[in-house]
């Protein structure tokens, strides 16, 4: 019977890893360095790796391959989104501002009001329902918040459900 060892980790600042309290995003180099560090710590003797990169993780994996090609023997790109996202930088940075604003204004009740009137059913789908989003956000903040922007849905999917559990 074939046995395998798997190293799975949350990147810095997401999931169960340490909170990023620096106020700055990690750089690509830091992200790649941290990934190899985690892998090395878990399995010091391992010299070659098979990577499983889901969603945003597929791009992390590609950067790892680019930086340390001799360490990687294979990759499962699991529904990684295209590098064309680089062409949407402006839209994503706008989305970032919106996310930064939500916690600041949630005390006013505006977000709850938006939740009650937003046509969230329009965003419902087989794979990602509005109630799904709301339930998870509510779970985190113990408050009703809304996500009215499809861009936000996409980001939540990429960054949270895909990689950060």
């Amino acid at each position: 019977m074939m046995t395998s060892q798997v190293v799975s980790f949350d990147r810095y600042g997401v999931g169960w890893s340490d909170e990023n309290d620096s106020g700055a995003s990690p750089s690509v180099d830091e992200c790649v360095r941290d990934a190899f560090f985690c892998m090395k710590c878990a399995m010091p003797e391992q010299d070659k790796w098979l990577l499983l990169g889901p969603s945003m993780g597929s791009i992390v994996a590609q950067c790892m391959i680019a930086q340390q090609p001799d360490k990687i023997a294979g990759l499962l790109n699991m529904d990684g989104f295209p590098a064309a996202f680089e062409s949407e930088r402006e839209n994503f940075m706008s989305g970032r501002k919106m996310w930064a604003m939500i916690p600041m204004i949630s005390w006013t009740g505006i977000v709850r009001m938006m939740l009650s009137i937003a046509p969230l059913d329009a965003f419902a789908s087989q794979s990602f329902t509005a109630s799904h989003i709301k339930a998870q956000v509510r779970d985190m903040l113990s408050a009703q918040l809304t996500l009215t922007d499809s861009l936000t849905d996409t980001l939540l999917e990429c960054c949270w459900l895909g990689d950060c559990r």
């Binding site: 395998s4 600042g13 997401v14 999931g15 169960w16 909170e19 990023n20 995003s25 990690p26 750089s27 690509v28 992200c31 391992q46 070659k48 790796w49 098979l50 945003m56 791009i59 590609q62 950067c63 391959i65 680019a66 990687i72 023997a73 294979g74 990759l75 499962l76 790109n77 699991m78 529904d79 990684g80 295209p82 590098a83 064309a84 996202f85 680089e86 930088r89 839209n91 994503f92 940075m93 989305g95 996310w99 329009a122 965003f123 419902a124 789908s125 087989q126 794979s127 990602f128 903040l141 499809s150 849905d153 996409t154 980001l155 939540l156 990429c158 960054c159 949270w160 895909g162 950060c164």
Partner: protein
């Protein structure tokens, strides 16, 4: 544990994600699909996946194509060979040289193929996603792309049988490519 800082952390994820995408494209150079001529991307997007359906209990069930897969039809073998020739004629990069030694499997889900999601995830990006997956499979030392037209992006982890099968294939191929893990 970062749940209580979810919004703050997500904000910090945005620039990283974009920087990663840009860095990966830079590594691919002329083989980055986001920098290829539109006609080549279109052709790459229409390369048929090795399988299109669901993999359960050790076997594939073929399903109709998803809206994510654009175009009226997949390329013929002849057309596929032509786009492969075009891709291989491009100046190699360190990334493409490395890639040619890797075992690669690509699982393509039902990317943002829903109301709301597809208002953002434009047709152009759907094509780029399919093209990118096909390119990665095409130039790998041992590569294949599998499409899952009924599995949403956030449900890919539920395709356990397929994930295991892909990892076994990659492991076997890596041994054949003399880069055993």
């Amino acid at each position: 544990m970062n749940r209580t800082s979810f919004f703050k952390n997500t904000c910090l994820e945005f620039p990283l994600m974009l920087d990663l995408a840009e860095s990966a494209s830079n590594a691919w150079g002329p083989l980055a699909v986001s920098r290829m001529p539109a006609n080549e991307v279109r052709a790459l997007a229409r390369v048929a996946p090795a399988q299109n359906g669901l993999f359960e209990n050790g076997q594939w069930t073929t399903l109709p194509r998803s809206r994510v897969e654009l175009g009226d039809s997949w390329l013929s073998e002849e057309e596929k060979h032509e786009i492969e020739r075009v891709v291989r004629s491009k100046t190699p990069t360190a990334m493409s040289t490395t890639w040619s030694r890797l075992a690669v499997r690509v699982m393509s889900g039902r990317n943002y193929d829903y109301p709301g999601g597809d208002s953002f995830y434009k047709d152009e990006m759907k094509e780029t996603a399919a093209a990118e997956g096909n390119l990665q499979a095409m130039i790998a030392g041992d590569g294949a792309r599998y499409a899952f037209p009924t599995v949403g992006h956030d449900k890919m982890f539920t395709a356990i049988d397929a994930i295991v099968q892909c990892m076994v294939e990659i492991d076997d191929a890596a041994a054949t490519l003399q880069t055993p893990v």
